[in-house]
């Protein structure tokens, strides 16, 4: 099981380099992609205002991997085309807002084929234990339906398996731990946890609704009468909606001091949008996680 970002990087590097396309460019993304190349993670191709980043790129990358395209939307579109043509495994956004990048990759006509709804997974390393935790969806779905949540959960479970997490423990978070017909998030959680009981999510242990104190603390859970292998040992947190997911993902970074890496999954290939809570040091780990996510795709078609 991969328990840290460093381990993810080692494993991804050992798997051999993936092809990475960066579009459009930012200094941070260019530096990160070059670093990924040095580490043996990826062979990068750059689409965007290549001239502006000449200082970093000069002599580092062969000319056919440098594509001048000043319009950011066209740059993303060209990146998508490279993936569709089988010339790239991973697409990473450099410059711009996540919104425009995600809209371009999900575009009905020019975008990537989707396996299901896109969802964003925020990954953190616990400070006191060797363990990665996943939070999803933290960026895309404003108010996911039960069906959306099922697909989001399946995407996260597939990703957890590339991290080597055996029988992943999933907390379906809600405001309260009791099923309350007035609070839809508790109903969705109850249904998903029932589906899990019936083996519909393989060997994953899916528990919900759980309020976050029960998810985080076995002691708090047992005081509320909940006994489950999930409490106090969660691998995947499924969030009830965007407001909660986004705020929680940022709060762990800014108040919790826990660096975050994130991936956009659900399309044919792993994607790395630019996220304002992801620092430069973490970008290379995002590439490593994307390499691992892509490997899964190769082995399981």
């Amino acid at each position: 099981m991969i328990g840290s970002f460093e381990e993810a990087l080692e494993k991804a590097a050992a798997a051999g380099p993936a092809t990475l396309t960066v579009a459009p460019l930012s200094e941070k993304a260019v530096r990160t992609a070059l670093k990924a190349r040095t580490l043996g993670l990826a062979v990068p191709c750059f689409i965007g205002n290549v001239r502006r980043h000449e200082r970093l790129l000069k002599g580092m990358v062969s000319p056919e991997l440098l594509i001048q395209e000043e319009d950011p939307d066209s740059a993303v579109r060209k990146g998508v085309e490279r993936i569709k043509a089988g010339q790239a495994d991973i697409l990473m956004q450099g410059d711009g807002e996540a919104r425009s990048f995600i809209q371009a990759v999900a575009h009905r006509d020019h975008g990537l084929p989707l396996k299901g709804p896109l969802s964003y997974i925020s990954v953190y390393a616990l400070k006191n234990r060797k363990k990665l935790i996943l939070l999803t969806d933290t960026l895309i779905h404003e108010t996911p339906t039960l069906e959306d949540k099922r697909r989001i959960l399946e995407t996260a479970l597939a990703f957890s398996s590339v991290l080597g997490i055996a029988s992943p423990k999933v907390a379906l978070l809600a405001a309260i731990e009791q099923v309350n017909p007035g609070i839809p998030s508790t109903l969705d959680a109850a249904v998903l946890s029932k589906m899990s009981e019936r083996g519909q999510f393989g060997d994953a242990v899916v528990e919900g609704p759980l309020d976050i104190d029960c998810a985080l603390s076995e002691r708090a859970a047992s005081r509320k009468g909940i006994r489950s292998p999930v409490t106090g040992n969660v691998d995947i947190y499924v969030l009830p909606d965007l407001e909660t997911g986004y705020a929680l993902s940022e709060l762990l970074v800014f108040i919790g001091g826990m660096p975050m890496a994130g991936l956009l999954l659900g399309a044919s290939h792993p994607l790395i949008p630019e996220h304002p809570a992801v620092g430069e040091e973490m970008k290379v780990y995002e590439i490593a996680l994307a390499v691992l996510a892509g490997m899964k795709k190769k082995t399981h078609g």
């Binding site: 995600i102 609070i183 985080l216 762990l252 108040i255 826990m258």
Partner: protein, 305 residues
């Protein structure tokens, strides 16, 4: 200005004994906290609820309760109404929830505020003591309003500003939290933010300030790089009040004290005094901490009026 919970506790020890009505204290953890509060000379409790259940719980922890006033009542709403009316009549300084659902207490408070014509609603303010931050911060509403609209948000903020004034913050800073939208959205995430900024400028929230931005990454710019280098964040201009968009968010964010190095104390503030509402998963230390916070707020409210 009170900057830490340690300071709250120091103040609590100096404000003199406070009269506390406890609604249905039929739980051991809760009675432990009451006993300690009494031993410290902080409180004079009035216990309202089922006399037998209270005594049984007290026996289980070996708490003699000598001399503590018990008012025997069985009906949950009647227990809550009595305690709340005592607070509004000035007969007690603060009240605390025991084993009674909060909905009863909120109903009692709304009735009393209604009778007093204050126009206030009920909301929960959860204070956080965050290492590295040189003042308290808070999340609100973390307990009552499921999907507050603009006018409910105004009332929620008024309560939070009122509490921070009581804690000595002259002009608390407020952040209106809202996530960015990637796809088509039913809501404009900035709509309430913009209206609240206007309301704040008109003075409709009390003396306070709404800071620009609706996400941590906006009001702590560049700090993501600091964190990803493994360095400690230096907070500058961090808000005292974080208004969460709805209750799910509030409930989930606020309990991160189970996970992060932050400490939490929650409170309802009415125009006539604080109401402590320990959660069913709280332990005696945290109940005692909330009691201290309530005592300090009660004392500062008393001095004002």
């Amino acid at each position: 200005m009170i900057r830490t919970f340690a300071e709250v506790d120091r103040r609590a020890a100096t404000v003199g004994k406070k009269k506390l009505a406890v609604l249905a204290p039929e739980d051991e953890e809760f009675l432990h906290a009451i006993r300690t509060g009494r031993q410290k000379g902080w409180i004079e409790p009035v216990l309202i609820g089922n006399r037998d259940s209270i005594r049984r719980a007290a026996d289980r922890i070996g708490f003699a309760m000598d001399g503590a006033e018990i008012i025997h009542k069985l009906d949950r709403q009647a227990i809550s109404d009595l305690g709340t009316s005592m607070l509004f009549a000035g007969q007690v300084d603060l009240i605390s929830k025991g084993q009674i659902p909060t909905a009863f207490i909120y109903r009692s408070i709304i009735r009393e505020e209604g009778k007093s014509g204050t126009g206030r609603n009920v909301s929960v303010i959860s204070l956080w003591d965050v290492p590295g931050l040189n003042h308290l911060t808070s999340l609100t509403d973390t307990g009552v309003n499921i999907r507050p609209d603009f006018s409910a948000k105004v009332k929620i903020l008024k309560n939070a500003v009122f509490l921070f004034h009581l804690l000595g913050y002259e002009r608390p800073r407020i952040a209106i939290l809202s996530a960015p939208r990637i796809g088509e959205s039913l809501h404009d995430p900035l709509e309430d933010y913009e209206k609240l900024v206007k309301e704040c400028r008109r003075g409709g929230l009390g003396d306070c300030e709404i800071i620009p931005g609706t996400r941590f990454s906006e009001f702590l710019p560049d700090k993501h790089d600091t964190v990803s280098r493994g360095e400690d964040v230096r907070f500058e201009n961090f808000p005292e009040v974080l208004l969460v968009p709805h209750l799910d968010t509030g409930n989930i964010l606020v309990k991160l004290d189970f996970f992060l190095e932050v400490k939490r104390r929650s409170l309802v503030i009415t125009t006539k005094g604080p109401v402590i509402i320990p959660s069913r998963s709280d332990f005696r230390e945290s109940i005692l901490g909330e009691l201290a916070l309530g005592m300090v707020a009660a004392e500062n409210l008393r001095k004002r009026s």
